[in-house]
């Protein structure tokens, strides 16, 4: 069977970014300089440049700037240093992976869980075959299981053809987390490799990652997710030649000669997760705060069950306490031993043992529970090398669903079960989780940054009261140092797409925030693995509105300045024009993504 991605099968993942001590020091120096200049700027903004004549505008913008600056502090801390765990040789037996190995002398047992619901069965077959092809230098007890929540006979037939396990259930309680729990009840491997239907492990996955578990405190290893089907686009020269012929070729070549290769149409949804795994997650190793992202992660069963039982015990204790109080109120007597036992039994019946919490972000939730455990001090590892390949969202609807789940799940944890203030974690771990949550809250201040130039362009009101020279004397050193710092801090990685997609995805995070604040449950829909047909412009109306309003605002402000209406000045127009242009460029990424058609459909 031929899929759209068959043509990309030959692609190989990029190696992890090389680490250099010199570069790291340069980044740290620039990072500190940027933060110091930022502190100077923010202090000046609060104390000397607030426009008291327009506080309704000045204060929200300054709050937004301050929140963004706090986010910058957290992000700088996150990226501070690379500290990879040493890759240890694969264990020969399970006795090398546990603290107390008395009587244990057998090969390591690994269960591979391939969770599926409604994906193409032939797609799952590819994942099964790749999972079976994983090699290991020592004897190993490897079992591949298809966890089919779709209860499809065709899927079962394929599992039988491929001689792998098939596990299903008669309901879909807890969605993926419930599916995993059901599979855990039917299996007993020491380690669990979690795969989505489209996760295709490389042969090296186990031999390169099981070595980490020689440390008995390592609970899970997350490997980077790599989308091998991302559109590569075409070079600017080629693109311009196609459109305007020879002049286009000259112009394109000249531009690429100056700036290096530029690809048009590359990764239209800014899906590339390299920045997240190779920079953000990898540098959390230093704080023991890398979190699990589901697919392509390897878990120690003992750790998962350990925290699940602990959480179950806590829940039973809490619920039985409430039941006891209820009984006491009903019977108007304080509880005796019999009543306490009854309450505990009732609570035990009512509570569920959920190794993976039934939550839209079950993976990050599991990481939090593990990191909070004060008795074992479980460790998490981000393995820097890509060990599997998977498919990227192929349309804006799928991308939006995925991002909404990430944002909603994280914000739900932040507001309802916040690990930053709960006991258990180290300061570094708390700050790293706060960095994640803060980035989702960023939609609020991003919204203000998008609207601020519009206020000036339409109303002529400015939030800052200062000489222009004074303003730039404070702002420019900070902003330029910030760009240079992140050039060094993310050396080898293009930060532009990440930055603009963060700015442009503000409606998704705002919607997720709104849902969480209203206590709405974030839904669990399975992210489609195939391209959804249709027009997706309705998904980007906020971005289109921002672009349109900015263009209209620029036109109005220019006209008003020419006619000497209001208080516009050339400097103000240029400055806000550039700011608005930056916003338009960022928004246009999403609008282009809504209109994007893959080559095989275009």
């Amino acid at each position: 069977m031929t899929f759209y991605f068959t043509q990309f099968e030959h692609r190989r993942p990029p190696p992890p970014l090389p680490n250099s001590l010199v570069r790291e020091k340069i980044w740290q120096i620039l990072g500190i300089a940027s933060l110091a200049l930022g502190a100077w700027y923010i202090h000046w903004r609060w104390t000397q440049s607030l426009n008291w004549d327009a506080l309704w505008f000045a204060v929200p913008l300054l709050l937004a700037e301050s929140c963004a600056y706090f986010g910058l502090i957290l992000f700088t801390l996150n990226l501070w240093k690379v500290k990879d765990f040493p890759i240890l040789p694969p264990p020969e037996g399970i006795n090398q992976c546990v603290a107390d190995s008395d009587g244990l002398d057998r090969p390591v047992a690994v269960d591979v869980f391939i969770a599926t619901y409604n994906e193409d069965e032939e797609l799952v077959r590819l994942s099964i075959r790749d999972a079976k092809a994983m090699r290991y230098p020592h004897p190993i007890d490897l079992h591949v299981h298809v966890l089919d929540d779709g209860r499809r006979p065709t899927m079962q037939a394929i599992a039988e053809e491929e001689a792998v396990g098939y596990i299903t259930r008669d309901n879909n309680v807890g969605f993926k987390a419930g599916n995993l729990r059901n599979a855990m009840e039917h299996t007993s491997g020491d380690f669990i490799l979690i795969c989505d239907a489209d996760t295709r492990p490389f042969p090296t996955l186990l031999e390169r990652t099981l070595g980490y578990f020689r440390d008995p405190d390592v609970a899970f290893v997350q490997t980077p997710q790599w989308f091998y089907d991302l559109p590569e686009g075409e070079t600017l020269t080629h693109w311009m030649t196609r459109r305007i012929g020879r002049p286009g070729r000259w112009l394109g070549s000249a531009t690429e000669w100056i700036f290096g290769e530029i690809r048009v149409g590359e990764d239209p949804f800014a899906n590339d997760p390299a920045l997240f795994y190779d920079i953000i997650q990898r540098r959390r190793n230093a704080f023991n705060a890398a979190f699990c992202c589901g697919a392509a992660s390897l878990h120690r069963r003992e750790a998962i069950m350990f925290v699940a039982l602990k959480a179950y015990g806590d829940a039973v204790a809490k619920t039985s306490g409430e039941t006891r109080s209820r009984l006491a109120r009903l019977t108007r007597r304080s509880g005796n031993a019999q009543a306490q036992a009854l309450a505990r039994w009732q609570a035990a019946q009512a509570e569920e043992l959920t190794p993976y919490k039934f939550h839209v972000s079950e993976d990050i939730y599991t990481s939090i529970v593990l990191h909070q455990d004060q008795h074992r001090r479980w460790k998490s590892v981000l393995h820097p090398q890509v060990e599997s390949k998977m498919l990227s969202p192929q349309d804006l609807l799928t991308w939006t669903i995925q991002r909404f789940k990430y944002a909603g799940g994280s914000l739900d944890i932040f507001f309802h079960d916040n690990p930053v203030i709960a006991p258990g974690m180290s300061l570094g771990q708390r700050l790293m989780y706060l960095t994640t949550f803060w980035s989702y809250l960023g939609a609020v201040w991003n919204c203000i940054f998008l609207l601020a130039p519009l206020v000036y362009l339409f109303l002529g009101v400015a939030p800052v009261s200062a000489y222009t020279g004074d303003f730039f004397r404070h702002a420019l050193p900070f902003l330029i140092a910030n760009e240079l710092a992140f050039l060094a801090g993310t050396w080898g990685m293009s930060g532009y797409k990440g930055k603009v997609s963060y700015l442009a995805s503000f409606p998704i995070s705002l919607r997720a925030l709104w849902a969480v604040l209203r206590n709405q449950q974030i839904k669990f829909p399975v992210t489609p693995k195939e391209r959804q047909d249709g027009n997706f412009l309705h998904l980007v109306w906020p971005q289109i509105a921002i672009m349109t309003l900015t263009v209209l605002g620029l036109a109005w402000a220019t006209l008003a300045w020419r006619l000497e209406i209001g208080s516009y000045t050339p400097g103000g127009l240029i400055a806000n024009g550039l700011w608005g242009l930056n916003n338009i460029l960022a928004m246009s990424i999403m609008v282009r993504a809504a209109l994007w058609q893959p080559e095989h459909q275009a």
Partner: protein
């Protein structure tokens, strides 16, 4: 990874830094030209701001703003033919601000009976001038104003555009 490759991948940071620097310089130059037209010199840093600027936060830009105004404090006395000069001590975005500043300056000068405040609108600004004065009286007045750490420029009674004649 080679330096060239690293720079190529991180070029967006460099481009942003360049645009910020170039845009900032351009805007400051434009605004400074306006201010210089007004006051005859670049304003001292830390002096009370006459121009408001929009601040951004991420890749950013600024912009000026005027605010509300009305009222000029004390009407300037009728100028006689001999009294053809004024001294300009500042330009403000708000007429009220200029009037307030004018009252303060007069108080600091001991409320001289023969000098008044004139507020002249110019583009988006309001020039604050004292006078009318006979030309020989302008120099000592300017000296007093400068000793109070104020700006002072000589302008003529009917002069509608700013002057760079200095005090």
């Amino acid at each position: 990874m080679s330096w060239r490759d690293g720079l190529r991948k991180g070029r967006s940071h460099l481009l942003f830094a360049l645009v910020l620097a170039a845009g900032g310089l351009l805007v400051v130059n434009i605004e400074d030209d306006t201010l210089e037209q007004e006051t005859g010199g670049t304003p001292r840093s830390g002096s009370s701001p006459a121009i408001s600027t929009v601040a951004p936060s991420t890749p950013t830009p600024p912009a000026p703003l005027p605010s509300v105004s009305k009222l000029a404090s004390r009407a300037a006395p009728r100028a006689s033919d001999k009294k053809r000069a004024y001294v300009q001590i500042g330009a403000y975005q708000s007429e009220a601000r200029a009037a307030r500043e004018g009252r303060q300056v007069l108080r600091d000068l001991g409320d001289p009976a023969d000098i008044g405040v004139r507020i002249e609108p110019f583009r988006l600004l309001y020039r604050l001038q004292l006078g009318p004065l006979a030309v020989p009286d302008a120099a000592p007045l300017c000296q007093r104003l400068v000793s109070q750490e104020r700006d002072c420029r000589l302008v003529w009674k009917d002069q509608k555009t700013s002057s760079k004649t200095g005090s």
